[in-house]
Symmetry: C2
Subunit: 203 residues, 2 copies
Amino acid sequence: MAKVVKAEIDLSTEEKIKEAASKVFTKKGYGNARTRDIAEEAGINLALLNYYFRSKEKLFEIVMGERIQKLFGILTPVLNDKETTLEEKFERITENYINMLIEHPDLPIFVLSELRNDPERFADRLQAKTHLTQSVFVNQLQEKGTKIHPFHFLMNLLGMIIFPFVGKPVLQTVTGGEENYLALMEQRKKLIPEWLNMMLEKA
Amino acid sequence: MAKVVKAEIDLSTEEKIKEAASKVFTKKGYGNARTRDIAEEAGINLALLNYYFRSKEKLFEIVMGERIQKLFGILTPVLNDKETTLEEKFERITENYINMLIEHPDLPIFVLSELRNDPERFADRLQAKTHLTQSVFVNQLQEKGTKIHPFHFLMNLLGMIIFPFVGKPVLQTVTGGEENYLALMEQRKKLIPEWLNMMLEKA
DNA sequence: GTCTATAGCGCGATAGAC
DNA sequence: GTCTATCGCGCTATAGAC
């Protein structure tokens, strides 16, 4: 009777480790991150880390999966919304992404650099090809009759949104501090959709 | 007499190590790279690496400096050329960068991720702030009387050029292989300057 | 200058007490 | 489930022969 109640509100330890791992991996990358750092950050012992997750590698894969989901998960539902126009899609993606990236500024560089280290491993998890090539977004572009490949718009959209965060260490110095940098990012929420619409018209 | 001839055409060893290091560091990042890998790649012994460069750290800093130079060195001379118009600057930067990145596709992700790990260290080496804020390019933009901050154009320019290479692992899968991917990059050499000119006109 | 051999240490992982 | 203590590997760095 008594033993039935178990792992009910067990929001601790396992979740604490995952959060700590996420933090340390993001900051240092897989190679430079030490399991000892993660354990300390989580406020638990090193041995416990191997008790919950079998190894550093295993822990990393789990955390990594969630990060990838966060970075690309914003995209697909918006791209496949049949109710919105292209213009609205531009606005929503820009808004959502910039807000998310202001909160997690070094998410892209982490995901993209780890992705490069082992592209195969995450290929199926992304399923990017199907999500994009068969998306409502791509169809809507093709209906416009543009000669320019739909992916160019996607690259421009993501490039203009994400690159300023990837290059944050440099840009922040150039712009003169975090405050000015963030002000520019806020401006881009309105500017990027405008630029994309211009590209669309001329195409 | 015989011993005088020495280290004349000694383009070997030291240079071989640097090239090997560059390759291995780029592929694996600092933390995951092993000095043994570098030694093997250079076709020399492990001890020799510490003979020429004092340590892994020291070797990394030297290689890193050259990489940063490669990535940002393209920009400054073009941005400060008084003889060319804005339109010509767009064209030259796009052309030069895309050509260079086709040869060294994972240079940006390497530089940017290592830069993030230790931004202070490379701050003075870049001198990005002076190079950019006082550039001919920025002046030319301000003369146009645009209300949009000059850095937005710079971010768009670099974002549209560099991002597709940062995201290469994903994009290559999506586009269906290296060949298609490269074809898109070739197209962008002409498209990106056109888009930037549009932004300029409307601003 | 270039090698072999090894010192010295930090890491991930585990055994075993509680 | 959580801890302490420790193993054993693989790394950087160096000593010393040639």
